[in-house]
C-alpha cells in the first residue's frame, strides 16, 4: 500500500491541483446552472479567454507584477463577459434549456474562433511566476511548487466560497434563489440582478482559472471544449447549485483525470464518463443536490 502510494503520489497531487482548478472553474457554472437553469456552454470559452490574457498580459515568463496584472485584467474581462452573457440570455428566460444551450454554444463558437484568429493555433505556454517555477520535495518526490500553490489557492477559495454562500446575507439570497426563484422575487429581490451578479462573478472566476491554469495547460484552441466538458461533469456529479457538490465533484474528477490516466492510461475517459453515468443512474440529481452548502 505504501509502495503504491509512493509510486502514485505525484499523480495524486496532480489530481488535487487539477481538482482545485476545476473547482474554481465549475463553481460559477454550477451556481448559474442551479439558480437560473441557464446551461452556459460559453463557460469554457471564458476560461480560454483568461488563459490568453495570462499569456498576453503576463507574458510567457511572467514576473509577479505582470502575473497579478494578468489576474486583474482577467477578473475585469470575466465580469464584463458575465454581464454580457447574462444580458444575452435574459430574453430566453422562459424558453427551453435547449435554446439557452444553443445560444451559449453559438457564443462559445464565435469567441473561440475570434481567439484563434487573434492568437493563432500554436500552444501558448506560460511559466509560473518566479519563486513558484521550481520544485520542492514532497515525501522524497520532486514536485512543482506552482501546483502546490494551486492546491492552496483552491482550498482558500473553496473555504471562502463556502463562508460566502453559507454564512452571509449574499449567500442566503443565492441559496434562496437556487431553492425557489419565485419566492425570492416575491420578497422583493430582483432575481435578474442576482443572476447578473452570479453570472459576472462566475465568469470572473472562470477567467481567473484560465490565468491560473496557464502554467499547467497553456493556452490553445480546443482547450475551451475540454475544460467545459470537465466542468459540466463536475457540476452534474456534484449536483446543481451546490458549493460542496462542486468541490467534491471537482476533486473526484481531478483524481480521475490524473490518477486514472496514470493507472489506466487509455481508459481514463471511459472511467470519467462511466463515473458520470453511475452517479446519474444512482442519484439522478447529483451527489449533493439541494444541499447548498
Amino acid at each position: 500500500m505504501s509502495a503504491w502510494f509512493d509510486a502514485n503520489l505525484v499523480s495524486i497531487l496532480n489530481g488535487a491541483a487539477i481538482g482545485c482548478l476545476l473547482f474554481i472553474l465549475a463553481i460559477g457554472l454550477s451556481l448559474v446552472f442551479g439558480m437560473m437553469d441557464v446551461l452556459n456552454l460559453a463557460h469554457g470559452a471564458i476560461f480560454l479567454g483568461g488563459a490568453y490574457v495570462g499569456w498576453k498580459v503576463g507574458g510567457a515568463a511572467p514576473t509577479w507584477a505582470s502575473f497579478l496584472l494578468a489576474l486583474g485584467v482577467a477578473v475585469l474581462l470575466g465580469l464584463v463577459a458575465g454581464g454580457v452573457l447574462s444580458a444575452m440570455t435574459e430574453p430566453l428566460r422562459n424558453r427551453s434549456h435547449l435554446d439557452q444551450a444553443l445560444l451559449t454554444l453559438g457564443i462559445a463558437l464565435v469567441v473561440a474562433e475570434l481567439l484563434s484568429m487573434a492568437f493563432g493555433n500554436d500552444v501558448r505556454g506560460v511559466n509560473a511566476p518566479p519563486g513558484l517555477d521550481g520544485s520542492v520535495s514532497v515525501f522524497g518526490n520532486a514536485y512543482p511548487t506552482y501546483r502546490l500553490m494551486l492546491i492552496g489557492v483552491g482550498a482558500v477559495l473553496a473555504a471562502g466560497m463556502w463562508l460566502l454562500v453559507s454564512r452571509t446575507m449574499i449567500g442566503a439570497v443565492i441559496r434562496g434563489t437556487v431553492a425557489d426563484r419565485e419566492m425570492i422575487s416575491a420578497i422583493g429581490i430582483d432575481n435578474r440582478k442576482v443572476k447578473l451578479a452570479v453570472f459576472a462573478a462566475g465568469s470572473a472566476l472562470a477567467a481567473v482559472a484560465g490565468v491560473l491554469g496557464g502554467p499547467i495547460y497553456g493556452a490553445r484552441p480546443g482547450l475551451d471544449a475540454t475544460v467545459l466538458i470537465l466542468a459540466l461533469v463536475v457540476v452534474v456529479i456534484g449536483g446543481l447549485g451546490s458549493v460542496r457538490g462542486a468541490l467534491v465533484g471537482a476533486l473526484i474528477i481531478g483524481q480521475i483525470e490524473s490518477l486514472g490516466r496514470a493507472l489506466f492510461a487509455d481508459a481514463a475517459s471511459f472511467v470519467l464518463f462511466g463515473a458520470l453515468a453511475i452517479v446519474l443512474v444512482l442519484r439522478p440529481q447529483g451527489l449533493f443536490a439541494g444541499a447548498t452548502r
Binding site: F33, G34, D37, L39, P91, L92, N94, R95, S96, H97, L98, D99, A101, L102, L103, L105, G106, I107, A108, L109, V110, V111, A112, E113, L114, M117, A225, I229, L232, V233, V235, V236, L240, D266, S269, F270, F273, L276, A277, L280, V281, P284, Q285, A289, G290
Partner: protein, 340 residues
C-alpha cells in the same frame, strides 16, 4: 391537438414535387453541386432522426452524432474488410447505430432536463474517444480511409450521379421510416410525452419504455445516415462523431423547427451550404459564421422554418382549445419540469 408532422394533401403534392426534383437533380447539376447535394441528404437524414428525438419526443440530445459515427465506422469497416456489396454496409451501419443506441440509451432516457443534455454529451464524448483510441479498427485520429466504392451488380458505383441516386434511395427509405413512426399512434404518444410526461404516465403509458424505443429508432436511422456518409466520402474520421457534428445536427433541427422532419432536412441543407460552400471562402472561419447562425436562429426563429408556416396555420387550432373553456396548458419546455 395540432399535428406537428402533418402531411395534408397539399403537403403530399409538395412531397411528390420535392422527390421528383431531388431525383432529377443530377441530370442538370454540375458534379460538384451533386456531391454537395448528396452530403445534404446524408446530413438531412441525421437531422431528421434527431428531430424525431428533439422535436417530437422532447429529448434534446447533444450526442446524437455518436450513432451517426458508429454507423459510418461500421459501414466503412465492413466494406473494407468483408464486402462492399450494395445495401449490405448500410444494413450493418443501421444495425450498429441501433445496437449502440440500445446499449447507451437506457442510461440516457433516465435523465431529465439539463441532465439529459449533459449525459448525451458525455455519451458522445465516450464514443468519440473510443473512435480516437481504437486504432486497430478505426484507424485512430487519422480516420478510417481506403473504404472501397460500393459495388452494385459487380460494378463499383463511382459516378457521382449514380452515387447520388443510391444515397437518395436510402435517404427516402430512412425518412419514410421516421415519418411512419411520427405518424403512428406511437408517434402521437411520443408527442404526448413531449407535452406532459407525468400525465401520459398517469394515463398508463410506459413512458420510459417509449422514450427508450424512440432513442433506439433514432439511433438506427442515424446509423444508416452514417453508413451513407462512409459510402459517399469513403473516409471516416473521429470528427464525424465529435461534438461539432452533434451540435450542427441540433442546429439543423432548430433551424428547421423542432418537430418537423422536412424542416430538419431543410435546416441540414442550409448548415451544409454554410459549412462546405461558404466556409472555404472565409479562410476557414466557418465556425464563426456557424456561431453567429446559432445566435441568430435562437433569437429570431424560435419555431424554425416549419414554425413560420405553422404559426399562420395554427390560429384555428389555438382558438379551438380556448373554446373548450380549459386554458391550453403551458407547453412544457424541452425536457423541462422537475429539474430539482
Amino acid at each position: 391537438m395540432t399535428d406537428r408532422v402533418s402531411w395534408p394533401p397539399r403537403g403530399m403534392l409538395f412531397g411528390v414535387a420535392a422527390a421528383l426534383l431531388l431525383a432529377a437533380a443530377p441530370l442538370f447539376l454540375a458534379p460538384y453541386a451533386t456531391t454537395t447535394l448528396t452530403r445534404m441528404l446524408v446530413f438531412g437524414l441525421l437531422a431528421a432522426s434527431l428531430a424525431l428525438l428533439v422535436g417530437v419526443t422532447g429529448l434534446p440530445s447533444l450526442g446524437h452524432a455518436a450513432y451517426f459515427g458508429v454507423g459510418a465506422y461500421a459501414a466503412g469497416w465492413f466494406a473494407k474488410n468483408i464486402s462492399a456489396g450494395a445495401p449490405l454496409s448500410l444494413l450493418v451501419a443501421a444495425a450498429a447505430g441501433g445496437l449502440v443506441a440500445a446499449a447507451t440509451g437506457w442510461v440516457a432516457v433516465r435523465a431529465r432536463g439539463v441532465f439529459f443534455l449533459v449525459l448525451t454529451l458525455a455519451i458522445g464524448e465516450i464514443v468519440h474517444q473510443a473512435a480516437d483510441r481504437w486504432d486497430s479498427v478505426t484507424g485512430g485520429s487519422n480516420g478510417l480511409y481506403g473504404i472501397p466504392a460500393t459495388m452494385f451488380g459487380g460494378e463499383p458505383i463511382s459516378n457521382v450521379g449514380l452515387l447520388y441516386w443510391y444515397v437518395l434511395l436510402a435517404f427516402g427509405i430512412g425518412l419514410a421510416v421516421l415519418w411512419l413512426v411520427a405518424r403512428s399512434p406511437y408517434g402521437t404518444a411520443l408527442r404526448g410525452i413531449h407535452d406532459n410526461e407525468p400525465r401520459m404516465r398517469a394515463l398508463g403509458y410506459p413512458t420510459s419504455l417509449y422514450k427508450y424505443a424512440v432513442f433506439v429508432i433514432a439511433g438506427t436511422i442515424a446509423g444508416l445516415a452514417g453508413g451513407l456518409l462512409a459510402t459517399q466520402q469513403r473516409l471516416v474520421t473521429p470528427e464525424d462523431l465529435g461534438f461539432t457534428t452533434a451540435a450542427l445536427a441540433l442546429l439543423a433541427v432548430i433551424i428547421g423547427g423542432a418537430g418537423s422532419l422536412w424542416g430538419a432536412c431543410l435546416g441540414a441543407a442550409l448548415v451544409i451550404l454554410v459549412r462546405d460552400t461558404l466556409g472555404p471562402t472565409l479562410d476557414g472561419h466557418g465556425p464563426l459564421v456557424l456561431g453567429l447562425l446559432f445566435i441568430l436562429v435562437v433569437y429570431l426563429m424560435p419555431c424554425g422554418i416549419a414554425g413560420i408556416r405553422l404559426r399562420r396555420g395554427q390560429r384555428p387550432a389555438a382558438g379551438d382549445s380556448g373554446g373548450t373553456g380549459k386554458p391550453a396548458p403551458e407547453p412544457v419546455s424541452v425536457g423541462g419540469g422537475a429539474s430539482r
